[in-house]
């Protein structure tokens, strides 16, 4: 796969931003936890991009 690493970072950042937004605007505990999981996955994607 010859996708530039920056695109992986951009994808991770968009996912992380979505997670932050969900953490801030939703009041349901389960959705807040799901948003945190989304942020953790964005962090994992950043690690993948950095080690590629």
């Amino acid at each position: 796969m010859s996708v530039p690493t920056e695109h992986l970072y951009v994808l991770a950042a968009i996912l992380f931003g979505t997670g932050v937004l969900g953490f801030l605007i939703r009041s349901n505990v389960i959705i807040v936890l799901a948003s945190i999981e989304l942020m953790l996955n964005a962090a994992n994607l950043t690690f993948v991009g950095a080690s590629r």
Binding site: L15, L24, N44
Partner: protein, 199 residues
């Protein structure tokens, strides 16, 4: 071909991420999260991390999602799952700005730190490339060597930490239940924790 697949999967991951935040019911939010995990797993596979992709599916889609769905479908939380916040709920401009600034800052940090290293020095050369091919699934025995060799102690410490957390959660939940049972008379069914559930 792989590039098109990557962008499709990225689009799916972002769409499912937006669905997680925008879904009205927690159940749909969790199902969107599941879709996002599958898309990310496909991206890991495309990037050449087979072990990570399999772990993502096993741990996230297999374990954490089942936990979420169990909590939603069995516990029937209802009002109890709503957080009380000081400020009003909803999409305000300030919150949108915080999320946007976080995302942009993350891109900047990532791109700048990637640019700081020697440009294109990370391309696999000779030994690394052949060892990767020889080891098959993204150097699984290298991971095992590091995990059970150099980082043995932190690994075991993490497992003890998880065990301690589990015991603490059981103790806390048990104390809460005992307090609840002492304040109110026991139901005739003999299941004090099923009080709120309709028959």
């Amino acid at each position: 071909m792989a590039e098109i697949l990557f962008y499709l999967l990225a689009l799916g991951a972002v769409g499912c991420g937006v669905g997680v935040v925008a879904a009205r019911m927690p159940l749909f939010s969790v199902l969107f999260l599941l879709g996002s995990f599958f898309c990310l797993s496909g991206i890991y596979l495309l990037a050449g991390f087979q072990f990570l992709a399999a772990t993502q599916l096993l741990v996230y889609a297999g374990a954490i999602m089942v936990l979420f769905l169990f909590v939603i479908m069995l516990l029937n939380l209802g009002e109890a799952s709503e957080l009380r916040r000081h400020a009003g709920q909803g999409l305000t401009r300030g919150r949108l700005a915080i999320a946007g600034v976080t995302a942009v800052a993350m891109v900047l940090v990532g791109v700048v730190s990637a640019g700081w290293g020697e440009p294109h020095a990370a391309a696999p050369t000779g030994e690394v490339a052949t060892s990767r091919a020889a080891h098959g699934i993204d150097q699984l025995d290298a991971i095992a060597d590091v995990l059970f060799g150099r980082y043995m102690l932190p690994f075991e410490a993490a497992s003890i930490l998880l065990l301690a957390t589990m015991i603490a959660v059981i103790a806390l939940a048990k104390r809460q239940r005992d307090e609840g049972a002492s304040h109110e008379p026991r139901e005739s069914t003999g299941w004090p924790w099923k009080k709120g559930v309709e028959q």
